[in-house]
Symmetry: C2
Amino acid sequence: MSTEQIPHVAEVGWAKHLEVHPLSPLAASEIVRAADFIRNLYPSSIKLQFKAVTLEEPEKARLVPYLDAEHGGRRLPSIDRKAFVSYYIRNTDKFHEAVINLSHGRVESNVRLGPNVHGPGDAEEILLVERIALEDADVKAEIAKLHLPDGTAIVSDPWIYGSDGVNDDRRMYQNFLYMRDPNDPSNLNSNHYAFPLPISPVVDAVDLKVSRIDFLPTGLDHSTRPAQPVEIPPANEYTPEHQNLRTDLKPLNVIQPEGASFKVIKAGETGEIVRWQKWEFRIGYNLREGMVIYDVRYDGRSLFYRLSLSDMNIPYADPRHPFHKKAAFDLGDAGAGVMANNLKLGCDCLGSIHYLNAVLSNDQGEPLPMENVVCIHEQDAGIGWKHTNYRTGHAAVVRNRELVVQSIITVANYEYIMAFMFNQAGELTYEVRATGIISTQPIDDGLEVPWGTVVHPGVLAVHHQHIFSLRIDPAIDGHSNRLVYEEAHPMPRSDFNPHGVGYTVQETLVSQSGGLDTKEDSNRVFKIQNTSVRNPINGKPVAYKLHLPPFQKMLADPDSFHFKRAEFADHNLYAVKYRDGELYAGGKYTNQSRGGDGVRAWAHRNENITDTDLVLYAQFGLQHSTRIEDFPVMPCEIIKVSLKPANFFEKNPALDVPPSNQEFNRSTLISEQHRQPSVEARVNSKSEVCCTSKL
Amino acid sequence: MSTEQIPHVAEVGWAKHLEVHPLSPLAASEIVRAADFIRNLYPSSIKLQFKAVTLEEPEKARLVPYLDAEHGGRRLPSIDRKAFVSYYIRNTDKFHEAVINLSHGRVESNVRLGPNVHGPGDAEEILLVERIALEDADVKAEIAKLHLPDGTAIVSDPWIYGSDGVNDDRRMYQNFLYMRDPNDPSNLNSNHYAFPLPISPVVDAVDLKVSRIDFLPTGLDHSTRPAQPVEIPPANEYTPEHQNLRTDLKPLNVIQPEGASFKVIKAGETGEIVRWQKWEFRIGYNLREGMVIYDVRYDGRSLFYRLSLSDMNIPYADPRHPFHKKAAFDLGDAGAGVMANNLKLGCDCLGSIHYLNAVLSNDQGEPLPMENVVCIHEQDAGIGWKHTNYRTGHAAVVRNRELVVQSIITVANYEYIMAFMFNQAGELTYEVRATGIISTQPIDDGLEVPWGTVVHPGVLAVHHQHIFSLRIDPAIDGHSNRLVYEEAHPMPRSDFNPHGVGYTVQETLVSQSGGLDTKEDSNRVFKIQNTSVRNPINGKPVAYKLHLPPFQKMLADPDSFHFKRAEFADHNLYAVKYRDGELYAGGKYTNQSRGGDGVRAWAHRNENITDTDLVLYAQFGLQHSTRIEDFPVMPCEIIKVSLKPANFFEKNPALDVPPSNQEFNRSTLISEQHRQPSVEARVNSKSEVCCTSKL
């Protein structure tokens, strides 16, 4: 670190206080500076491969007073601006992580990691590995044996190698090969997943060579065949150009004639504050998690310190080599932020849309601009509440408006549509839609296997699990919270319960860190409580409850690498005591990980989590037993996790939502005279009384 | 039956063939005729109280050939038109049911029911009972002891009496009393549920007198107090006029400039056929079930013979007299059809709406016109499927359009919003939204009880369960279907599964009628299969799978009346062999029922249900542990049951949905320059390429 940097540092120090919020993602200039600090540690002859240059979030002990001062309108304390950098010495296995103090212009730490700690894939590396696999002479020789038509395009999907403990200390990629439709060679968007090939080259990520060529089992057992001529099955395209499209779908437009109800306030160069219907929160964005929601408040009251998708794991059912290693950690192995789609108006959202851009980093440590990676819009979610007084016929009804903060990622064959949704009743929902193309492999004709479904001639879609972990760092009216679960139990028969119909709802305190499960038979519901703040009407501690959908836990056995690595996959919920730097349920580095570094390990510290700063990891997912309807592209499967107030407010917080009526909603009456519902709007003249009905 | 009716009958016979479909609900003229047939059985001095005059649906053995001929364009067989009538000899307990053959103008059957078989309440009777309770001198004397301010309006909510086996052979009503806000006497829509009174008169439904006055326990035990002066708590109103409404919610309109995509075809005087996006089905409507969906087909292939909400039960947690009898069967005790709201444009739906009317019957056996009881509209349900080719940046995305067939019922304090939803991926969802005002009772100040929550000073909202039963009469590619369930199980470790990661998905046949449950740990999913029709690609039997949400089963013990009466409430699913006339999971007459007449009893016949005409009753619901946010009116709780194809099609059936793009969706870009998102539409000029993005 050279002295002439000091004025520069001071300048940045000032700049920070003027505009940079401690939670604002790194700006392009900060990414450049951080990478320079690392480069300057080495002679110029040493080339680096950057995996991440991202914000090192402030310690909570410093940030909480800052946020309190911010909301209290007091003078803001100074918080150093820091960058986290992970990188390889290029073409080696020397993986490092470092922290740069940008405010004081120094490298605070820089350590080499490992052994068996591997960085994630990056876009440049993945494209390079594809090329290496396809240009390898031995691979070409094997492909030649398939006797494919001249000009057939081969496609390689590099897969993270996974871990099985067998010669996998080096970082590798397992490449699955496909071809584009040989009968339509010019179609660059041909669905190659309809043409899986039985050859699978393994590429070493250090010396960047094909280290092994696997042949895939295509029968009922582990046996494989040498490459031999393959039959060409029919194509199975998903693109609209290849369909006879429906002609009877009429447009449906969402119009907000007076604009949207939300405000997006740019917080300096990066990061935004969103205000909508008494909600206020901050949006961050990083390479690994994508969207991060910070400092969530409703009507000025604190609810959550930080919300993000922490991890996901997708283990597959086929036990045969090399498929037994398929267990993707899409966030830790690649990154939700860097895989985000550039969202387009009219395609990914409907209505009045606001888009957010982000800036990440590439393998050179250069800023990587990401346009339209988050979209924000309102949507109508049906009736919010209604009651009709049957004696007077007076009906009161409001609709439920939602604010959607959405991002979409593409992970090779697959897509995830992720959204944080806020509503007017103080409810917050995290939604995942699973879509895209299911992972395929070749299977011999006429075979059926219990670990997958044939979705196209010669094509097997193996069953798999999607297991997600949503990280919830609560701050319900403050940072001292506790976790309880509520259960409903029958009353025993007694003089008090002579007819055997009574039941009670009881709370149980979760005093220690650990893994917990829902229980349908007792309707177990988890609640985050603040016992120091009581509901003024009924005296109960203010709380938010967590609605977790059912899901089948990790099917791989507890001694398997799948199970050890996916440290969150065995319980609906993990509860731990907060520690700075612990963000990822599956561990900080999931690529070929061996486990022991994630939330299961943290929970085993058996720390007291009563009335303290606790953090929850909420798991949800789906056991995807494949069906032919999931091919060539699957209809969305939707999963939701919800957080709802429980004695946090004094009454229904959506009580003050303006009533739903025709002046406001401008609906159209479809004329009953027409067999085909007509276009002409017949605005109800009786809109004044439109919410009156008689039983 | 008199001879001069014969020509009239023949005429009706012809009329039927010309326009009346066997599934069309009774027309007004048919209701009049059917009631006349019954009246003519008695001297004019005998007054009748009609409970139902509704369509007696044809035997399936006759209707199936009719529907086949109808869809095959062949000559239609003749099916007699019949009416079902249930009635009391007025002011007696003499309850009858009869079947009238309208085609041949004769009474086919007319039998007196009972003992302990009671008809449901009807609107006229309920209003009468309210008056009787409030005008009773003894009740007035007790109310006087409360020392309420002059002019305080008392409100009586008559409750179905329930059964506990204690002196309840006669049909009775338990009236719960409330007052409107004494400080605002002119407010007819005051939320009286904020002012529960401790006096509860019981009205005998036969002699129409107050037979008993109960005093409600307001403490921690069974003890009650004589009426004494009460304190007046503050009001807690839900109506918009009493709120400081939010001012920052901007309008959101749904516009279909070219009209809606669905067709509604009137099928004669009553009943409709709906066609939308390859779906075709028939809508019926009756007093008990409300909406009924018949003969559901997709792309010409048969899926379901009949779908309806079969029953619901809401047992409460308070074991104390008289609350221990609160266990409402809203369909069987009153009727979803007759309690339906008159839906208003802009209030209950958003967009381009088509309304359906219905005609039911009143207690005089006269036609009761029901306007706008069903609304039909399309809605956007977000992205339907998407894939981005990361190599070319080409993205294909379609939105998921849904057709919603919705009805809303008000049951005194409570509302249910019910909807059948169809989508473009061949999926059918039944949704219930629970809203309205939770049932309240008085509680002494400062008390907490484990069977409810204080939601307002002096007001207890008791915990309760909502348990619904959806009747599914499948016809998956025909009427010979079987029920299987699919489960995912780990493979044992072996040479075949050396790493312990493999798992299999297996099917188990349900060969006999019975009650079944889901199983989260094995991801048990039920499927309706037709083994005689195989998927042409993978040879699997065509099937639809049933997605059931978790819910806590009936908490009352198996010896309790609650449990015996709610014959569906103890399993996620009941599967039985079809029999004509078996439609209601809780039995045909639920009012003060004793059990033994519903789906549990039918299941105990242990009939073979393999490859035959089976019927499913799918249960779902919620354990409603009350929270203060549910008062004075609760935000919707949403529950869904879905039916999805499983190897029924050859690929994703939504593949041919036109792509989502800006020309079609006309979304609006909110200018980033504006802090407050701007209104001006900036239609994307690059809409041609709007679905192209680069990873």
